[in-house]
């Protein structure tokens, strides 16, 4: 089982990647927009998964960081800067703000932290809405250009989808590396038992701040892609409900699982589209589905899979033990 498990996984991964590249080629404009949105939201949810799923810090502010990234990209690219420069600024800016937002996490935990970050979300929304000299206020910023990548214009939906998909691939690899590095292990130690982590010599202060800052930076990247994707931004998409949606994506997909955000974002972005035939009922059905899922499996979809695999592993192990025992008995 284990011997061909890894090649199977790699093959499956390649098929999914090839599918994501080839299948959308004959999608219409709207389908491509939805898929691009999925890629962007996955990046933001991956950031929150680092903060919440791996480091165990509840944050209700991820939507605000998507907003910060989006405004940074919108303001810079409409003033003639290239998108990559805007992405760098979005990363630096949201990293710095995320670092500062991490300080409350050093003092308070759990629901208190949730409410501090919730307050931050609302404050960020008010700044987006009220500082119209910078953000255009309620009228927002329109005509956000899409970038030229290596001389290719990405104005059309398909090339820009590849920009989003490519960014998702880069971020995925970076996060994959990060959670396998000592950093990722330190994050997990922080989640499981902060006191013990500290006694093992992990600088919990630094890693708590880092978990917030890196998670927020990923939110910033997502925002910097969201602005050219929609080509128009105003404060409304970045209100508290985006933060709540992202939190739901992470939990529904499976917090602390690498592929959780991919699935969670897929459900949050695509399920309402699939349920569109139900017309006005789709968000209602979505809400009911989320509640039923959480009652059934509080660790999300991947939690179900994980439990199933763990059960099979214990069964296989006890079967092996039984065989070994009977052999031992025959020898005796």
């Amino acid at each position: 089982m284990i011997s061909f498990g890894k090649p199977l996984k790699i093959a499956l991964g390649l098929i999914v990647i090839a599918g994501l590249i080839i299948v959308p080629m004959n999608f219409n404009r709207y389908g491509l927009f939805i898929l691009s949105q999925w890629a962007v939201m996955t990046i933001a949810a991956m950031g929150l998964n680092l903060t919440l799923g791996y480091a165990g810090q509840v944050s209700l502010a991820q939507g605000a960081f998507v907003g910060i990234g989006a405004y940074a990209a919108a303001i810079m690219t409409t003033h003639g800067w290239p998108l990559p420069a805007a992405i760098v600024v979005a990363i630096v800016l949201s990293f710095a703000v995320g670092w500062v937002l991490g300080y409350p996490a050093l003092r308070v935990q759990h629901h208190y932290l949730a409410f501090v970050t919730l307050a931050f979300s609302t404050l960020a929304f008010l700044v987006f809405r009220n500082e119209s000299w910078l953000t255009g206020g309620i009228y927002g910023i329109s005509n956000i250009p899409r970038p030229h990548i290596f001389g290719f214009a990405t104005n059309k939906p398909l090339p820009f989808y590849y920009v989003c998909l490519g960014s998702l691939a880069i971020v995925s690899l970076a996060v994959w590396w990060l959670i396998r590095s000592p950093w990722g292990r330190a994050f997990m130690a922080l989640r499981e038992n902060p006191l013990r982590a500290q006694s093992l010599g992990i600088d919990t202060r630094r890693y708590t701040l880092m978990a917030f800052a890196i998670g927020s930076a990923l939110g910033g990247i997502a925002g910097a892609l969201y602005a050219p994707l929609t080509q128009y931004i105003d404060p409304v998409p970045f209100n508290l409900s985006l933060s709540l949606d992202l939190l739901m994506m992470v939990i529904v997909g499976g917090a602390g699982f690498y592929f959780g955000p991919f699935l969670g974002a897929m459900i949050a972005v695509l399920l309402p589209e699939w349920l569109r035939f139900t017309e006005g009922y789709y968000l209602m059905l979505y809400a009911v589905a989320v509640m039923l899922l959480l009652i059934w499996s509080p660790t999300g979809i991947l939690g179900i899979l994980d439990r199933y695999l763990a059960e099979r592993r214990t069964k296989a192990a006890s079967a092996l033990r039984a065989v070994a025992k009977s052999r031992l008995e025959t020898v005796q």
Binding site: P104, V108, F115, T122, L244, L294
Partner: protein, 291 residues
Amino acid sequence: MSNLFDLLVAGLATGAIYALVAVGFTLLWQTSQTINFAQGEFVMLPAFLMLAAMHAGAPFWLAIILGILLSMILLGLGFKLLLVDPMMRHGVLPLAIATMALAIGLKEAVKQFFSAEASPFPSIVPTGDISILGHAVSLQSIGVLVVAIVAVFGLTALLNRTSLGHQMQAAAQNPTVARIIGVPVERMILLTFLINAFLVALASLLITPIYLAKFSSGEVLGQAAFIAAIVGGFNQVRGAIAGGLLIGVLDNLAAAYISTQYRAAVPMIFLIAVILFRPQGLLGRAEERTV
């Protein structure tokens, strides 16, 4: 200074409603570690239940009774049995997320089955002004304040003076010990859910005539109630009351003296300051850290 007096009265009236909503919020937290992110929607729904009863031809007083009863069945009993009970063993966070989903579901259901438009709602207090110390004060503000104060005093009297209230407090503070000394803990928890449903229905009845019945009206109210509960003390009923009044007054004063654009920011900054410097809330007691 007449302006300040008017602002204080209006602030206390909205604050009293925040307090009603926040008290239910802290009751649920104390007895069952439930953070109800749908608390704002819980206030929005009863008004629509009452409107639906009136559309069906019921007179206003009957609609109020029906609305309160239905709200206790749906938002008290139903909420506990269908969502909180199956999720209780999963811990605080998944349940909090589930209540977020519930908030979306309730909002969408009202939008779909009732109306996306704001509907007017009759007031239980006659409109008009009366003169107090030379100031014209709207009867509505006074009425809201009086009803909310009576409800809150009734609740604190129930909790502190009656044997039922003592049992409820025992169940909230230490379920294991309460069970040993013979308190029916489960029944007490159910009771807090019913009380919460009653309080949100009452808040709905008081606030909807002022702000109209709208499917999205729960968002702002829910947030204000959270802030009130945390500022005052997450685990104290009197904290939630004080927090509610404080946030109501602060909100009104901020709108008048600081900036209407950033009025919502003032309670938020206050919230952050309170959490950072006194996490247990102004009147709360510190919760012991679990290691």
